[in-house]
């Protein structure tokens, strides 16, 4: 099958979704959702836009996504053999792994002694960034759109002009003794 056909794209996409969902797990998008394991309530990295972010060439990983998916599935097959797991062949091997085994495999791939560690850390980094900072969207727009990560973290929305300002910011009273060796300019002596 030539690269880029829908079937291969979807294999790639659900494999990467399953990876992102291992980093920041979310609830299933629909009952038949195989990529998202449903290990946590609320949206996770996938719902936050991980695939959109990973596919953006600004990240520098977009051109390697085929390799990521292929390698991840190879690792998943080897892991399943080792663990004596029989995987559902109707989905890619990593997607077929139960959530706790996806987690164990990602922990192994990102461990300090793994030869491919930097490669997998990058994928984890962008998966996390999709959730904690919506790096594929303007932040104010992401908050207005109810971005699941920013909402779950409780990040406050900007003011009407799109800028953040916090007029109340201080308890406004002394809260500790100063170090006795402080200079008049406020530095350590």
């Amino acid at each position: 099958m030539p690269p880029g056909t829908p079937a291969e794209d979807s294999i790639r996409t659900i494999t990467l979704e399953a990876f992102a969902d291992t980093i920041i797990p979310g609830e299933k998008r629909h009952p038949g959702d195989r990529a998202v394991a449903g290990a946590a309530a609320g949206g996770g990295a996938v719902q936050a836009g991980a695939i959109e972010l990973l596919q953006w060439n600004a990240t520098g990983v977009s051109e390697g996504l085929d390799d990521y998916a292929r390698l991840l599935n190879e690792h998943a097959s080897a892991y399943a053999d080792e663990a004596g797991l029989v995987l559902d062949a109707s989905v890619p091997p990593f997607v077929a792994l139960p959530f706790e085994h996806r987690t164990a495999l990602v922990a192994r791939l990102t461990a300090p002694d793994h030869p491919e560690k930097p490669f997998w850390i990058l994928l984890a980094l962008f998966s996390n960034m999709a959730y904690d900072s919506a790096a594929h969207m303007h932040t104010a727009e992401a908050i207005a759109a109810g971005h699941p990560g920013l909402r779950a973290m409780g990040i406050a929305a900007p003011g009407a002009d799109g800028l953040w300002r916090f007029p109340a910011f201080s308890y406004g009273r002394p809260l500790a003794r100063l170090h006795p060796d402080t200079t008049p300019s406020g530095s350590p002596a």
């Binding site: 600004a58 987690t103 500790a176």
Partner: protein
């Protein structure tokens, strides 16, 4: 045949080390060119936005190394544009440090007493506020109250922030939209421009060679303004004096790459790198306990829940900055804001059985993000960092269009460093877990190694040629006319935020650079006032200048 451009002084980089020297040399009469590899943005361009491609990723560089990753500025104004503007002076004992050498590391001519007049010059040039408790943010106040509750002191940290303009938006790392942060864009750089200096953004210096007449030829590439992975042929400029101030993660790399043309580099080039002993802890506060134990409340009936509000660090605990304590056991503990994007991934869940930095429990931890308090440790490391052979261009293989790249730094923490981090971890835990206030964990070093926002010492000053690349006046040993004035020159970790010390050492380097320039036929004098014309700082250093200008 095309003729190569010529200048008196070529400055590489426009952060503290570049802007300060450029200003004084231009004001003194030299023709000064500044090459800056990052873009030139000002308040109107700064965006409060985490989207890739916004000012946040355009002006910030995150360079992954082996065992240590570096965050630094990448723009006109350098670190001053992205930093959190904490400007403490280094404590007296730091200058007496011996590191692993068994003798004083700093040059004999530099102590707190001899540096204070240079600190004063910086303080006159960059408005620094001695913050009081009304300026201290909720996060800083919480840290102060917790320190007090455990019998410790806590100090508001001096900062280069105009409190009347500051909105406490906590977007300092994306550039200050309100010009509250007193970056170099507001003082030294405009003053340098007024005296005829030129700044060329998106010019990345690659290497230096020596001409037959003893001048230097500096080669640069042009960097695409949006996609920093794209570079095009630049050119070369001949200069009588070269001031390297590309940052401690880049200056040694330029010199390493120049070794083939310039000849042997001093041993200290690309060695003795210090991450300023930095490490981060995350506390997740129990809001009820904050109210009950510390008696803190704020508007809306909240106790804290204010991680997003503020202006970087505002309060530090300095109880361990005690010169009578043994080296490698002294450190400061500073409250710090670290934005999402890079500020959450390394935080670890408490008592992890499975993975500590991702997964279900990490997501739960993120749901309490507004109750996070980040504590920044600055211990005395042992200058363990070493740069490997340089990449083909720049100081990193860039991965993303902006911000993210892989550099060549290797950092294997010494036992003394690991012990100091463990001590500091334990102390933060002791302070913040007391009476159930919070759960505290350290950031993992397993993902991108240790993590520094204050790279130092990779080309340091000293008296001993075997362990310092620069003499005590910042001139590169064996290569007269090349000076290094950025964080690379600072010999050791400082136990406090280093910008003030980097700036003071750059101020102190200027007389020696003027002397060298004059010897090379440049008509330049020393003695410019502060950028706004104030002169008391100049009077304060007057007695020190003749020695620094002596050959």
């Amino acid at each position: 045949m095309t003729s190569t451009e010529r200048t008196d002084v070529l400055v590489v980089g426009s952060g503290f080390g570049g802007a300060i020297t450029a200003y004084h040399l231009a004001a003194g009469g030299a023709k000064v060119e500044i090459l800056e590899r990052g873009p030139w943005l000002t308040a109107k361009d700064f965006e409060q936005d985490f989207m890739l491609g916004s000012s946040y990723t355009r002006i910030f560089d995150f360079t992954v190394g082996e065992g240590m990753s570096i965050l630094g500025g990448n723009c006109v104004g350098g670190g001053s544009v992205v930093y959190f503007a904490a400007m403490p002076r280094a404590p007296r004992f730091v200058f007496e440090r011996q590191g692993g050498l068994g003798r004083r590391v700093w040059p004999a001519s530099v102590s707190r007493d001899t540096l204070d007049p240079w600190y004063d010059r910086v303080a006159e040039s960059i408005p620094i506020t001695k913050q009081d408790w009304d300026d201290v943010t909720y996060a800083g106040g919480l840290w102060a109250a917790a320190c007090d509750h455990s019998g410790r002191t806590a100090n508001p940290v001096p900062a280069a922030v105009d409190r009347n303009r500051c909105t406490n938006c906590n977007w300092m790392m994306a550039g200050c939209k309100f010009d509250a942060k007193q970056s170099l864009l507001l003082n030294y750089l405009p003053a340098a421009l007024a005296h005829g200096a030129r700044i060329r953004p998106l010019h990345e210096v690659q290497r230096i060679e020596r001409n037959h007449d003893g001048s230097y030829r500096v080669h640069y590439d042009l960097i695409d303004e949006e996609d920093y992975r794209i570079r095009s042929a630049g050119g070369a400029i001949d200069a009588k004096i070269v001031v390297l101030a590309a940052g401690a993660g880049a200056t040694p790399v330029i010199l390493q790459r120049s070794e083939a043309a310039l000849g042997r580099m001093p041993h200290g080039v690309g060695r003795y790198f210090s991450g300023n002993g930095e490490r981060l802890n995350t506390a997740v506060l129990n809001e009820d306990r904050v109210r009950e134990v510390l008696g803190l409340t704020r508007e809306g009936g909240l106790a804290y829940a204010a991680n997003q509000i503020g202006k970087g660090p505002t309060v530090a605990n300095w109880d361990r900055l005690d010169g009578s304590l043994p080296e490698f056991t002294r450190y400061s503990l500073e409250q710090l804001y670290f934005p999402p994007g890079l500020g959450t991934i390394l935080a670890q869940v408490a008592d992890a059985v499975g993975p500590s930095w991702f997964g279900v429990r990490k997501k739960e931890m993120l749901s309490r993000w507004q109750s996070w308090l980040i504590i920044f440790q600055m211990i005395e490391d042992a200058n363990e960092g070493v740069f490997g052979p340089p990449p083909a261009a720049g100081n990193a293989d860039r991965i993303s269009q902006q911000m993210l790249g892989v550099g060549r730094l290797r950092y294997d923490p010494a036992e003394t460093t690991l012990r100091a981090w463990a001590m500091a971890d334990a102390e933060v835990k002791e302070i913040l877990e007391r009476d159930g206030l919070a759960e505290v964990t350290a950031w993992t070093n397993d993902v991108v190694g240790a993590y520094t926002v204050h790279p130092l010492s990779s080309c340091r000053i000293g008296d001993d040629p075997a362990t310092s690349a620069l003499d005590d006046r910042n001139e590169l040993r064996g290569h007269p006319g090349i000076f290094v004035t950025d964080g690379s020159a600072v010999p050791t970790a400082l136990t406090v935020n280093p910008a003030m010390t980097i700036a003071a050492l750059a101020e102190r380097a200027v007389p020696g650079i003027v002397r060298a320039a004059r010897e090379r036929g440049v008509e330049v004098t020393y003695g410019a006032p502060a950028p706004d014309g104030a002169t008391s700082g100049r009077r304060g250093v007057a007695e020190l200048v003749p020695t620094l200008m002596r050959k």
